[in-house]
Amino acid sequence: MATNERQRTATDNLTSVVRDIYDQLNGGNIPAMELPLRSKKNIEFDAQHNVWKYGDLQTSRTSKTVQGAQMMLRTIYTADFINEMIRDNKSSTLREMYYISEGWERAKFNSQDESNLLAEDLEIISKCMREDFKLRPEESGAHIYGNLDISTLTKKGMKKFNCMDDVAETGFAVPYNVEKENFGVGDTDAKFVMAIETGGMFARLVENGFPERHGAILVHLSGQPARSTRRLIKRLNEEKGLPVTVFTDGDPWSFRIFASVAYGAIKTAHISEYLATPTAQFIGITASDILNYDLPTDKLSDKDIGALEAELTDPRFKDGFWVGEIQAMLEMKKKSEQQALAKYGLDYVTDTYLPEKLTEMGLL
């Protein structure tokens, strides 16, 4: 769909959300909205796209409670605000929207979490993406480094870059919108994509010349990856046919980072098919790596243990590999960081660890 058309759909859909509330009031009813339940209880595997999406469980938001009525009032205000932005060809950050709501009286957001959640609700109700609403996140996506040509929209029109030759060692900064009209993926001779959790490891691999040596495109995830980062990984995988690997710390939170790249995040399960890369493979640090490479470790905190136990009931982790990894970690009660590999020297990760793991995967 072209930009204009997608935005017209967004406007129409948002208007009809408001019209629905109006009609309920006009009919003498208590306004209510149905939304899919956004929790891990309501995550189902979508065999068509190979990703996890919301199931059929619904939660209803009614104006019978102050909280529900307030959310519905905010929905109307937010829909109006987005329609105005689309009409005037402006965009705003989620944070800006939070501040703009200061003038909305009773519809004002109390925290940015509330406005972020509502933006996602509106995506679900209107079946459009936040990017179509011209709402963007505070920070842009992460960084990318590797022999890849891209074109991106600048103030002077579309420009071409090479993500190795034209950038510093920090890589190319991924914009918040990586849809085709904004961002083009060009030629590459890379053999695979490696998504990396920490900036330290990203810099280590760049410094050691790993991308050049092994034909890798590195993507720095910087914690839980932003939507644009996941979308870009998905496009590289689909359009260039590049296998995707994920290299993180060895702790419960990193397992979740992998899950959101490969299976789809719970919060954005309504758009998993745009964001998730089902064929992505986990390199490590695995629980068995901790043993096999005799890595320095930290003790699992109570929070870590709780997170691991929660993962055992998360449908996305219900496969032999993950159940085994999670239980192994619970048993040894230890976690480790990817940079712990430096125990054996700065080159160990690029000379030994990664080549070994990638060979095992058949990528080298």
Binding site: L25, P31, S63, I76, D113
Partner: protein, 672 residues
């Protein structure tokens, strides 16, 4: 420990003789010097507090006995020596006779109260002299006493006192008369002591503040070591009634007590001794006891042997004797407890002072006692901690050994979850924004130790404390219920008055549509009949009460309305109301409202005139003949009210209960 007859043991030559000579030298004073902990002088911070406590308790007792409103000044100064403080406690009591001063302050176990049974703070004369002695031995400095008795031509006396620990006798120096400018009567005690000044739960400040709560008739001034002054003004000019002395009651007496009384009595015969020296013993009972014990009524009391006494104690247990009189106790009373709490705790802005409870007096083992309880709730009292417990015995705060105290045990036994406080498993000290006060008054409070820090637990006392707590907690709970109803009510009003209209306005302007009619939506959301109660005071003795009923449901409604009015205050304005049905002998009134249409309202208003008019709480209103879920602002008519509610069979409409929005689970799986 009687040492009047000193025999010469030294003439003997055995080991026993030599040891006896040594044993001889241990005086009461020496014994206590070696066992300071028994008196509560076992840590530096505690010694400091205990000394002040003894002095202040004595001062309050003396003022009340003499009928003066107490004015107590306490000063703590830090001296140059490490951990050494100078304490000054001054009162406006009746003063002490010059010749008595050395014995009162310089001799352990000296005092008139030792054998008297009455509700007093210091129950043994051990306190103030122990303080003086501890000061003596810890600093080597004497105590300085000043005192003046009433009378324009009386002169004030001052002296320094040290206690000779071997003989338990005061050593007086610098004894002199002086003119005490501006002082009509009173006593000042000044002593140096080793100690540590602390702040917090077991501090001098806390002790004085709590003392002020239960002694609202006292004015207490305190200057701390930094020179900061605190003043607890009195909350009432009303002195507590003087506590009466009673004779010991025979029940619960130990054999040693009886033998001691028999030796010291003025009575000539055993029969007279029983009748005159004990309470509740009549001629007939005395005869009964002596017959059972096989003791001649005309025998001299001093001739009673240990076996005689033992037989008498056994006989007393078999004879039925009336419980001791309880009018000797002076509880603080519910209004003054509330006043004291409000006066001192107002800085914490509590939401609610639950009506305090004073239980009727009870007697166990010959000892009368009375229990009182009060609860303060909300405001700035921290809500995520255990409640604060304020324990008092005979108007004295208990700051130590909370865990060992019968009061704490009773609090832990009550299931506070029923009364709106958090408590794991329904046992233990509850959590929540509350302060619980318990006062035990008795002629002989059973303490766990000489330090008088915790009340010993026995079944009757503990169950009385629990009763008092439950009654008081019930007052708290009904307040909390009211608050919850209010917040639910205000939430619904917020939705229909603010949020729904705002929604309609924004949506219609965005869609360019007319503003919709919201009345049906509002009725559906409220889905209640709202009883709005209001009162207006007119002059001193007239209260105008009104109940406005709004039908915020979609059907017409018929219901009964009930209230318990102070009967002597009602007049024609009540009876002439067209909805009035009747009033019973207790003052319980019924109104009937028929066919109140949706969105319609109706007002019932009447006058209460007289002394008791302002005690009426208009929020205590009840309904019948309607599903109580459909009513806001009134409760269902309780079954135990003894009046018949309206019987209406509702064709009912399946009341949609308030379902809360299913909680959306937001996980820590944030993706940006």
């Amino acid at each position: 420990m009687r040492s009047e007859k000193i025999e010469d043991f030294t003439s003997g030559s055995t080991n026993a003789h030599r040891m006896a000579a040594k044993q001889q030298e241990i005086s009461v004073t020496e014994f206590f010097e070696k066992n300071k902990h028994i008196l509560g002088f076992d840590s530096r911070s505690k010694s400091l507090l205990m000394g002040i406590k003894e002095a202040v308790d004595n001062a309050l007792d003396a003022c009340e006995e003499a009928g003066f409103l107490p004015e107590i000044k306490v000063r703590v100064e830090r001296l140059r020596e490490e951990e050494e403080y100078k304490i000054t406690v001054e009162d406006n009591g009746p003063g002490i006779l010059h010749k008595m001063m050395p014995n009162v302050f310089g001799r352990l176990l000296y005092g008139s109260r030792f054998h008297a049974l009455r509700q007093s703070r210091g129950q043994q004369g051990i306190g103030i002299s122990a303080t003086v002695m501890y000061g003596n031995i810890s600093t080597g400095k004497p105590a300085h006493i000043e005192s003046k008795i009433e009378g324009a031509d009386e002169v004030a006396w001052k002296m320094d006192i040290t206690i000779d620990t071997k003989t338990n006798r005061p050593i007086v120096t610098n004894d002199a008369a002086f003119t005490w400018e501006g002082k009509d009567h009173g006593t000042k005690v000044e002593y140096s002591t080793k100690g540590r000044y602390i702040t917090g739960k077991q501090s001098v400040f806390e002790y004085l503040r709590n003392t002020a709560i239960v002694n609202p008739h006292a004015r207490i001034e305190f200057q701390d070591p930094e020179g900061k002054r605190y003043i607890f003004e009195r909350a009432t000019e009303q002195l507590p009634p003087k506590s009466k002395e009673i004779k010991p009651h025979p029940e619960g007496m130990e054999i040693g007590d009886l033998m001691k009384y028999a030796q010291n009595t003025q009575q000539k015969t055993v029969s007279a001794f029983l009748k005159n020296d004990f309470s509740r013993i009549t001629d007939r009972i005395a005869e009964d006891i002596l017959t059972r014990a096989a003791v001649s009524p005309s025998a001299k009391p001093s001739s009673l042997t240990r076996d005689n006494c033992k037989a008498m104690i056994e006989a007393i247990a078999q004879v039925k004797i009336m419980a001791p009189p309880t009018d000797c106790l002076s509880p603080i009373g519910d209004t003054l407890i509330k006043k004291g709490l409000m006066h001192i705790l107002d800085g914490m802005r509590p939401d609610y002072y639950a009506t305090p409870v004073t239980r009727p007096p009870k007697a166990v083992n010959g000892n009368p006692f009375v229990v009182e309880a009060g609860i303060v709730y909300g405001g700035e009292i921290p809500s995520d901690e255990q409640v604060t417990i304020l324990r008092f015995a005979n108007r004295v705060p208990l700051l130590y050994q909370q865990g060992a105290c019968a009061i704490t045990k009773a609090i832990s036994e009550v299931d506070w979850r029923r009364y709106g406080l958090e408590q794991r498993g329904g046992k233990g000290i509850p959590f929540g924004p509350a302060i619980i006060l318990v006062h035990v008054a008795s002629t002989k409070v059973p303490f766990t130790s000489e330090g008088k820090e915790a009340v010993a637990s026995f079944a009757e006392l503990q169950s009385e404390i629990e009763q008092a707590l439950r009654l008081c907690a019930r007052n708290l709970k009904s307040h909390l219920n009211k608050m919850e109803r209010k917040s639910k009510t205000s939430a619904k009003f917020e939705i229909v008055q603010e949020l729904i209209p705002a929604m309609a306005k924004k949506a219609s302007s965005m869609l360019d549509m007319p503003m919709p009619d919201l009345s049906r939506t509002i009725s559906k959301i409220m889905n209640v009949v709202w009883v709005d109660s209001g009162t207006k005071k007119e002059g001193q003795k007239t209260l105008i009460v009104s109940y406005t009923l709004y039908n915020y449901t979609t059907k017409e409604r018929t219901l009964g309305l009930h209230a318990h009015l102070p009967k002597e205050c009602v007049n024609l304005t009540l009876f002439t109301n067209p909805h009035f049905i009747g009033m019973n002998d207790d003052g319980k009134v019924t109104w009937e409202i028929r066919g109140l249409q949706p969105s319609a309202s109706l007002k019932i208003s009447f006058e209460l005139k007289g002394e008791m008019a302002d005690t009426y709480d208009a929020d205590d209103v009840y309904v019948s003949g309607i599903n109580p879920v459909l009513v806001m602002g009134a409760e269902a008519l309780p079954g135990d009210w003894g009046i018949k509610g309206l019987e209406i069979t509702e064709s009912d409409d399946g009341v949609p209960a308030d379902e809360d929005e299913s909680v959306e689970e937001v996980e820590d799986l944030g993706d940006e």
